[in-house]
Amino acid sequence: MTPLLNVQDLSIGFGTEKPVVQDVSFQVMPGETLALVGESGSGKTISCRAVLRILPEAAQIRSGSITFSSTQQGSTVDLLRQPERALRKVRGNHISMIFQEPMRSLSPLHRLGDQVSEVLLLHRDMNAARAKASVLETFERVGFPDPARVWRSYPFEMSGGMRQRAMIAMAMVAKPELLIADEPTTALDVTTQAQVLGLIKELQSETGMAVILVTHDLGVVANMAESVVVMNKGRVMERGPAEAVLSDPAHGYTQKLFAAAPMIPQVAAPARPETNDDPILQMRGVCKTYTMRAGGWRKPTLITACHEVNLTVQRGKTLAVVGESGSGKTTCARLALGAEPPDQGGEILFRATADAAPLKIHDMNAEDRIRFQRQAQMVFQDPYSSLSPRMRVGQALTEPMEIHDLGRKSERREKAAEMLRWVGLDPSMLSRYPHAFSGGQRQRLSIARALTLDPVLLVCDEPTSALDVSVQEQILCLLEDIRDRIGLSYLFISHDLAVVARIADEVAVMRQGVIVEQAPPDTLFYNPRHPYTCALIAAQPEPDISRPINLELVSKGAGSPATWPEAFRFEGVAAPALTELEPGHKVRCHV
């Protein structure tokens, strides 16, 4: 059988530098899903964009060929040697594409219906009425309950997942033979990701189109792909059938990726409940509401970011707060650090040492605050923006000590150098600028900066979610090392249950400002009780072909609380109380 798309020896470079994509070859069979896997900078996006020739202006295709053999027309063309006009007939018609950012890939000024039907008006000699009928049908197909309303709405009225569905509808409406999906689910929450992946798979089996799926997540690959191309630094490391590659990776790089991929462990027994009680940070009945001014004469609306949060971080342990976007987990972190005051009535207590008098974070004076800031520090999410580009590494690392007026200049530098060694870096970096370093190195730098004040509590706000998996693994190891070395306590915020599984001693699952379930990870994974927790666990893509995502479980828990089983059901904010079902395992349910 002739492959639908045949990429041969493709090399792409910028300017006079050495190629960023080098001798890449792969084939896509009709109806097959091919996954291009790699970390950032591996050239996976550039190679799949070369198929439609939508490369950045400075990129030059140095060699190779991309032949597309349409089964509908029975013709074979080399896409790299087609004139621009002919290529326009292929784009959107035979080959269509889904982009990573659903927030930015739809035009904010056009109604969704008009945007999607444009493809038909361009490629399929259709009149507006027939195009509309066809688009409405596609909208229904991709899972919109009310297609007519979607037709009329603007992208900003939709959530991320809904927009990505609309993107898929746009890509599918002309019934292409090949769909290129460039990280289609990276910007989405894990439960939404599961549903979108399920949708792509379903549409594919229905229409028989082939899919190129660009991703960095081996779990997604295991769930979707029939064949895999693993790329690293612009070169193909390994390619072949998914089953073979995933069950027994042959290349060292693939093996490394597998070792680093976070997994939810399969647990044989629940954890034994923790007995010693030495809390370093306690949040009691903490609520946080924001007033959003609606503008004009309308009444301001109240938004609840956190509702009745009770959390305790034990000394030397890690408490992880897990939730999807908008769940209020970051607000929790900010409250814990005293960056914002909680609503009246909430209490946040901090004990620097076991026998110290508790410090009231919710009600600090200036002196307390300075004392507290030395003992509690934060590690941020985005390593690219957490270090000022104008400061040398040394300046950034000595700044906290400068602010608190600790030590002399030489002592500060000494301390900064020591912290660099702690995070596995060389002190010679002190005189360099942060922009010379990779994301992982910079995250180490910002951990080092947080440590310079010798804190006892570290709040980590998604410290690994902007990093590649192999780097994520290293950073998690580092955080564990440091915790055990100096007895730090962590409040760890994450959206990823699998990341939390390895580092946390206790996990709290948050959903829309409410903690729905709280337990040590082993207990949680052994016996998840709440439907939302079950959905999160089920939606986690595992790099194991034998454990596909259970979409039914996902949709059961990810929906609105009104659709949950009787015991967990509630409406509005009148959630049932957090009940301790077994020692150390709390679930929000009616008992």
């Binding site: 070859s25 070169r235 193909v236 490391m237 390994e238 390619r239 072949g240 059938p241 073979a244 590659v245 042959a250 290349h251 060292g252 790089y253 490394k256 650090l337 960056a339 605050r369 300075i370 800031q373 030395r374 520090q377 934060m378 941020f380 999410q381 985005d382 923006s385 957490s386 270090l387 000022s388 580009p389 104008r390 400061m391 950034a396 700044e399 906290p400 602010i403 608190h404 596995g424 870096l425 060389d426 010679s428 970096m429 360099r432 600028y433 922009h435 010379a436 370093f437 990779s438 190195q441 180490r444 910002s446 900066r449 004040l453």
Partner: protein, 384 residues
């Protein structure tokens, strides 16, 4: 590529996983911000040329008197409205170095205008490093040496002479001293005000922000020209030209700061969201420190670019005021004052060279715009 029995292809090049943790990934980024900006700006041809042009212009200012063959208010009573003269090198096929032909003026009593006749038989070589009228080098060293001047019995009006027989070329050089610096002084005033108000509005937000924004809007809603007129009419008429000049630049600055304050404010608002600013706040840095150490350095380059783009407005403002006779007044020389002489349409038609001061204005304003544009394009060197 090696094919395995199960149909897989595996890369054969030896692969190892021993990355040096401390090795910089992008050594090209390991440089202070200004160096990165310069590297990027260097590729911006038009901006670079404009920058060089402006640099030369400003370097000439202190030695304008040396380069100009005449001083600003030196009259040649027999040469009113003399047309531009050219400097030649060859006379009748023979090289004799730079020279001019002498001209003589006759009054055309039929059309009531001056006509000039050139005597092309007598080439008169220019003199170099010659003695002429006295001027002050760098503003304080008295000197009477000029780079070049006309030989005895001839004149050198490169761009003609004006109504009173003053050399337009020399006056443009002298005028540049005021016209080009008024922009800098004005921009300094508006910079100071703009950064101060923009920074407190952007950083503290809330009521402060609201109040400053309203003040900006009120200032912006005032019609500019009448306000200039009113303010400059308030300058006592017995003040010397230099005092008037300072007042004019400060007035221009005071009216210009709201635009800059808005730019500063919006940049502050976006920079505040950067995590390094949050990090500094979490470390316990006070607002003053956050603004000085984190916010200002990171948007200084933006400020410089927007300042570069607003200098032309200052220069044009001075020109407009002086053109209307409300800014600088004779005997001060600026490009606007010179154009004041060209207000009469009839004289422009007969003696078009009196409008030549427009050319340096156009070139300087364009150069500032190109330079500012080039700077703006290279401000963010971290995005590739």
């Amino acid at each position: 590529m090696k094919q395995l029995p199960d149909g897989r292809f595996v890369d054969e090049t030896p692969w190892s996983d021993d990355a040096d943790l401390s090795a910089p990934e992008r050594s090209d980024m390991d440089a202070p911000n200004w160096l990165l900006v310069w590297r990027k700006f260097r590729r911006h041809r038009l901006g670079l040329i404009s920058g060089l042009f402006l640099l030369i212009c400003y370097l000439i200012l202190p030695i304008a008197g040396f380069i100009a063959p005449y001083t600003a208010n030196e009259r040649s009573a027999e040469y009113l409205y003399a047309p531009p003269q050219s400097i030649n090198l060859w006379h009748e096929g023979q090289f004799i170095g730079p020279y001019v032909y002498p001209t003589t003026a006759t009054a055309d009593l039929e059309n009531f205008r001056w006509t000039y006749e050139t005597d092309t038989t007598r080439p008169m070589p220019l003199q170099f490093f010659c003695e002429g009228a006295e001027y002050r080098l760098l503003g304080f060293i008295p000197s009477d040496t000029h780079l070049f001047c006309a030989p005895e019995g001839a004149t050198i009006f490169l761009w003609g002479s004006d109504r009173l027989g003053r050399d337009v070329f020399s006056r443009i050089l002298y005028g540049a001293q005021l016209s080009l610096t008024v922009g800098l002084i004005g921009i300094t005033v508006s910079f100071a005000l703009g950064i101060f108000f923009g920074a407190i509005a952007g950083y503290f937000g809330g009521k402060t922000d609201w109040f400053i924004n309203r003040v900006i809007e009120v200032l912006r809603s005032l019609p500019e020209l009448p306000l200039w007129l009113a303010l400059s009419a308030a300058v006592p008429s017995n003040w010397g030209p230099v005092a008037v000049f300072f007042i004019i630049s400060i007035i221009l600055g005071i009216l210009d700061w709201p635009g800059l304050a808005r730019a500063v404010r919006s940049k502050f608002l976006s920079l505040r969201e950067e995590e390094y600013v949050r990090a500094a706040e979490m470390m316990g840095a006070k607002p003053g420190r956050v603004i000085r150490r984190h916010l200002l350095p990171n948007f200084m380059s933006h400020l410089i670019a927007s300042a570069t783009l607003s200098i032309p407005a200052m220069i044009l403002g001075e020109t407009a005021l002086s053109f209307l006779g409300l800014g600088l007044r004779a005997p001060a020389v600026s490009w606007g004052v010179m154009l004041n002489d060209a207000q009469n349409l009839a004289s422009i038609e007969i003696y078009p060279w009196t409008a030549i001061p427009m050319l340096p204005i156009i070139f300087v304003v364009l150069a500032f715009n190109f330079l500012g544009d080039g700077l703006r394009a290279s401000l963010d060197p971290y995005k590739s």
